[in-house]
């Protein structure tokens, strides 16, 4: 079994275990405000780090290329309050244009 299969199945098993345990544990266990706060903050940190790694790195090396242009356009789209599909599409079109013609 290669890394892709392990990741696919491992993620699926844990994802369901997390969902099901939420439905099965007593509510008061997780009511602490600190737990709630950390729960809101973790996705912000991880998703931001993923943006950075996917934009600026290639196989553990830092790299500035067509992706930075795509993501910069995505930032502009978000600042203009564009909906999600527009954000993703405008990034893809910009990036593809630079990759193909520069």
């Amino acid at each position: 079994m290669n890394a892709f299969w392990i990741a696919t199945l491992g993620t699926s098993v844990i994802a369901f275990a997390l969902k099901y345990s939420g439905h099965s544990i007593p509510q008061h266990w997780l009511e602490h405000p600190k737990v709630q706060r950390i729960n809101a903050l973790i996705p912000i940190a991880l998703l931001s780090a993923l943006v950075a790694v996917q934009t600026f790195t290639e196989k553990s090396k830092l790299m500035i290329d067509h992706r930075l242009a795509g993501v910069s356009v995505a930032v502009i789209a978000l600042l203009l309050k564009a909906p999600f599909p527009v954000v993703v599409l405008s990034a893809a079109i910009t990036s593809a244009a630079i990759y193909n013609w520069l």
Partner: protein
């Protein structure tokens, strides 16, 4: 189940369709990062949690190990567990129904359910089931379309898919940045991940930012 109000159906359907359509982006991103069409579809069927799925393909695509991919995705999946804690006493289901309810406990089903709660208890339950099942159907359908589409493209960079993935992450994190503390955490995480990439094995710079989030959350 008693009569379903039109407003509940409308809310559930519109959320299901819009969110489900993001499945195209996931299916395409997944194949662009080296997953097969089959694996992409299995992730949508079995993991069924957008941010976690994008994280798995993002970490492996960046050269990370299966373990760091699973760890990052699972940290993002913790919030579904917390939604379960909120939904369980409201739904009060057992056995197979609880298994299905758990599987469709995601951002959207919880949000629509809690939004419908101010109408009445029945609307809340209907909103949860309709949205959860609706997103499941469309998310999986569109994942397949996106994966097949990306497979047909060949060099996915020529179609901008390598930028579509970080743009999708950005679109997911953007609405969460409500306070200056949130924005500071986001910028710190970006800088930390970039600085650590040449030093740590791939995948670890991403997971490590979860500890920054915990530290910020504990401080206040």
């Amino acid at each position: 189940m008693s009569r379903v109000e039109a407003i509940t159906v409308r809310d559930s359907l519109s959320v299901s369709l819009t969110v489900g359509a993001y499945g195209i982006a996931f299916g395409a991103a997944s194949v662009a990062n080296g997953f097969s069409v089959m694996q992409s579809c299995l992730l949508s069927l079995l993991t069924f949690s957008g941010a976690s799925q994008f994280a798995v393909v993002g970490v492996l695509g960046a050269g990370g190990s299966a373990i760091s991919a699973i760890a990052t995705a699972s940290l993002l999946g913790v919030r579904n567990g917390l939604y379960g804690v909120i939904m369980a006493p409201r739904l009060r289901v057992k056995g197979v129904k609880r298994i299905v309810a758990a599987h469709i406990t995601i951002d959207e089903s919880t949000a629509v359910a809690l939004g419908a709660e101010k109408r009445d208890h029945e609307a809340m339950k209907q909103g949860f089931w309709l949205t959860g099942i609706g997103v499941f159907v469309f998310w999986n359908l569109f994942t397949l379309l996106g994966a097949l589409g990306a497979q047909a493209m060949g060099d996915t960079r020529a179609w901008g898919l390598d930028s579509a993935v970080p743009a999708a992450f950005l679109g997911l994190v953007w609405p969460r940045l409500e306070s200056n503390r949130d924005r500071a955490l986001a910028i710190t995480s970006v800088l930390f991940a970039i600085a650590m990439t040449p030093i740590l094995p791939a995948g670890l710079p991403i997971i490590a930012t979860a500890f920054i989030a915990i530290a910020v959350g504990l401080r206040r």
